[in-house]
Symmetry: C2
Subunit: 348 residues, 2 copies
């Protein structure tokens, strides 16, 4: 899933160049490239399908040159994850109605890919012959209020746990209770299921979406695919797979993982997941820092940035936009983007 | 005089593009262009001579296209203002030994050009038939410790005053005394004299510099000029015309001026001379400012800059360098430049 155009990393992440296409940690590969690499040994490249927005076709081809046009699924609009997943599943089902499917966001990081592959293999083994929907549950390391939580049944010693409830972003008090109870994990947004299981679940819980794509399915892998999507998408409401399916289904299981996962959803999480200097700065460019601490400099690489007397700031620049903002005010970035649009579409 | 490569406005002013070639106030013309325009009606364009460094030949031609190559005097090295003025005077003397000469820095601003021309005309009238060295004295508006001061004899009502002393940058206490005494003005670095007077003064007070250029003079306006300068310049010590001549000569006069002058030598003076918003910010680009006051944003014009919670800062960017520094620390900019050179010549 690579269709998002989140604004939280603006000005770095932009409408025409969102987060998943950035080398946001400065590691040498972009988040979508890292996501693809992560499946080496699990899924051959010819079986990787990327669902994204039509406007990101060129960047996708460029960053993942092994993809054929058949493997790049272009959504005509954004309808959250359920239609995105339905499209991909109905398309893949056309050529392999018994495929084992892994759904993964293209903009997360996983610092322990070996462990990820081990846990994923377990999930695939569990799901391939059973009518179950499996998700990866991330062992929480703090009472983060930005994530969804999954409560699991810990009554037996099975490696794959039955899910009891999904909870969206809780408040801090509840998050702390979740952590101390020991039977909650973070919802990593990574799903594993067999094709029959997910199609059945879509039919059960999101029948109008399932119908829309089932009717479009005969046109997939043909020249009529684009036109069929232009009919199917407007029929779908915008809904996440979590809300639409996972929270309602009875056959949901979770594999607990400690895989160094982050959805890199905030500047704070970027700061946490990046290498820091001795005074806690994350720096992506040439820099001369005087009395600067606990800050993020996310700048073009060849830029020299001189800063004096700033603590806890985000200094971020990309393509004609510079933002200098206290880290603790990062929730304002959404407002900034809305306002920035007044200066011109190319600033957002 | 347009040879300077001052570092005080770094990163805006750069080794390969110093201050005089910038439209530093955002008025639509650069400082050297404004300086040339300022002489309209006083000096025909064919009589304007620009002394600069060889590396600025191209920018000078581009910004002042009316100049012929004979009018662009290229110094092989920097030796402060005395050799610069000696070179220009000996060159002009070759074709007009009785020229009336005005010497002016190319990087100052004068907000009242009409008044400037009136006072300059007075100085020219006074100097053209007398053996005097005239300077423009700027009516001081505050006890600035960054300027030189000229004490004048106020004992008669003459419009052109006899100079008693020159004082370089005084401390604040002394500067305050100067202002309250009423017989001190700022040294604007603009000089007016007849050719015989300046050549005589150079012979008297800087004979080795006068000799160096007198020996080079036969080659001026010929193909041998460059070679002659390569011999003359190393013979000259680095010395200002103020130290070398004006402070020593007995025949120095000053014309008091209230012409809206600034040497734009500091970010503070740039701030003072620029249009400000209602909370005292000077902004040269698209901006969204939240709780930002008393700051300077000197950025590329098409840039959108979002800033939150900064007061009294300089935010300046030019060609791959961004500086974010409290205004009160602007004296550190020299250190920044020295350090920046370690990252590469193109950053300074």
């Amino acid at each position: 899933m690579a269709g998002g155009a989140g604004t939280r990393f603006w000005p770095f992440s932009r409408q025409n160049f969102p987060k998943q296409f950035h080398d946001i940690l400065g590691t040498g590969s972009t988040l979508i490239q890292q996501t693809a690499e992560r499946f080496e040994g699990i899924c051959p490249q010819e079986n990787i399908y990327v669902v994204t927005s039509r406007e990101y076709y060129d960047i996708t081809r460029e960053q993942l040159p092994f993809l054929t046009d058949d493997q790049i699924l272009l959504e005509p609009g954004r309808r959250n994850t359920a239609p995105c997943i339905a499209y991909a599943c109905f398309k893949i089902a056309k050529i392999n109605p018994n495929a084992n499917v892994v759904v993964a966001p293209a903009d997360h990081i996983i610092l322990k890919p070996e462990e990820f592959r081990r846990r994923l293999t377990l999930a695939l083994d569990y799901s391939q012959n059973a009518d179950v929907l499996v998700t990866l549950g991330i062992t929480p390391t703090r009472p983060d209020t930005g994530y969804g939580y999954i409560q699991f049944d810990d009554s037996d010693d099975q490696e794959v746990k039955k899910v009891k409830t999904f909870t969206e972003k809780p408040n801090l008090e509840i998050a702390k209770m979740f952590i101390s109870s020991g039977d909650y994990v973070w919802n990593g947004g990574i799903f594993i299921w067999s094709m029959p299981s997910i199609l059945k679940a879509l039919d059960n819980y999101l029948p109008e979406i399932a119908d829309a794509f089932r009717e479009a399915q005969p046109h997939f892998f043909t020249e009529g695919e684009k036109e069929a999507l232009d009919i199917a998408y407007p029929r779908c409401r915008s809904i996440s797979i979590d809300n639409g399916v996972m929270e309602k289904a009875e056959n949901v299981y979770v594999v607990l993982c400690d895989i160094g996962w982050s959805d890199l959803g905030t500047w704070k999480s970027l700061h946490e997941n990046s290498e820091k200097d001795e005074v806690n700065n994350v720096v992506s460019c040439y820099s001369m820092l005087y009395n600067v601490e606990d800050s993020i400099l996310k700048m073009p690489k060849d830029k020299l940035v001189v800063v004096k007397d700033l603590k806890g700031y985000i200094i971020a620049e990309h393509d004609r936009v510079l933002m200098i903002c206290p880290k603790e005010d990062e929730q304002l970035v959404k407002e900034f983007v809305a306002k920035a649009e007044e200066f011109g579409k190319h600033y957002i």
